[in-house]
Symmetry: C2
DNA sequence: TCAAACGTTGAGTGAACATTCAATCAGAAG
DNA sequence: CTTCTGATTGAATGTTCACTCAACGTTTGA
């Protein structure tokens, strides 16, 4: 007989259940009693650890920040070496996570962004920090791409656009229960990148001719 | 003494209040009692016209569909004649609507898309229809642009991308209370369009030389 | 003038909500 | 074994939720 796996500690069980339920149902639509049932704890335990449901949401968002690298970015960086390919590997990974569920769920952070950004002043900065983390990684990759992208291209702007494509595409995918709009947006972004890459290539070409004495 | 403006009829007052409150606070966070107070009616009147809060949400979304052309698209078409400029006039109009409020509110349809798309099966198609309407207008403009855009460019894909930029950019704008990410995404889209326009121009150039005997 | 039809009134319904707290428990320290 | 400490228990709190319905007005048509 297999020994029962030791149950994770109370705090972890609460955070796991809350994160999953907030993602599946939204924050306002998730009752504390449901979290208690799914985490298999009693109300006193929750309120011993978290002063309120809002504070629990804050803790969930802080955990998303902590998990950003190990869960989201590291798999992409491990699987894909080329910095520009990484951008599209990230977009593909997101598609692979949500397409099996027919896009019934959205981005856990994006969902919360639209639901509580305005009503919970202390939560909004935590959402912003998550988005900042995401686009910081993409920006890092774009900077690593060096002169493969046009010199005057604003890497930060383009990184924000990659995040825009993820979130805007996923929103439409959820609404239509279809990958079409997400795939369309990613395909257009790919075309844009290809145009930028070839533009940079011709920049480099003429630049080499103009400065070939400096070596390289 | 100015005569009191005649109060709009019950149904209109309910729909106005509900649309405003759903937009400002979200669907789940808006109590029916708040709608009643703001519309200045009693619960019986609401439930005489709408069988449930969900049905009221459906009616609000149907009105959004009806108002899409007169409120959103007609102003853009009236002010701007060039089909490609219209795309960016639409994006600018959306920015002008939400920047005075420091992006405290998001897209009324996008907000609902992420809040209720999964939990309300009968509502999701109404959200989808709204998005379809938006991107159909953009696609129409892109088709009107004719050979100013590359021949092989998928107009439907690009139209979906324009919507993606609106929604994804606005989501980030809400999270950061700043236009930066929205403006960044629009700027990148503008650069993409410029690259497509010049690509189409060289297509036309070589095309003319190859078939100048056919006239035009 | 009257009655049928229809919209409106608003107190009232039970259920679900987030939260509380005195009691109880398990484990560590002496 | 006793005492202390901190986590856990779970019934109970008051509030808010979406919604109901018998009573009441007002309009309509003959």
């Amino acid at each position: 007989m297999t020994p029962a796996a030791p149950q994770p500690d109370t705090k972890t069980r609460i955070l796991d259940a809350a994160a999953r339920l907030f993602h599946e149902q939204g924050f306002n639509a998730t009752g504390v009693s449901t979290i208690l049932r799914e985490a298999n704890i009693n109300p006193g335990s929750l309120y011993n650890l978290f002063p309120s449901k809002d504070a629990l949401l804050g803790a969930v968002l802080e955990r998303y920040t902590e998990l950003l690298y190990p869960v989201v970015m590291k798999p992409v960086e491990d699987k894909t070496a080329d910095p520009i390919d990484r951008v599209f590997a990230l977009l593909q990974q997101y598609r692979d996570w949500f397409s099996p569920l027919e896009f019934r769920l959205g981005c856990p952070i994006g969902n919360l962004a639209l639901e509580v950004a305005d009503s919970h002043p202390e939560i909004r900065p935590l959402i912003q920090r998550n988005f900042d983390g995401w686009s910081a990684f993409v920006e890092k990759w774009l900077i690593e791409a060096g002169d493969r992208l046009p010199k005057q291209l604003d890497r930060k702007q383009l990184a924000a656009t990659v995040l825009t494509v993820m979130e805007g595409g996923l929103m439409q995918a959820r609404s239509s229960r279809s990958a079409a709009a997400y795939d369309a947006s990613v395909a257009q972004l790919r075309t844009y990148f290809d145009l930028l890459l070839s533009q940079a290539q011709s920049e480099r070409g003429s630049g080499e001719r103009a400065s070939r004495s400096s070596g390289g």
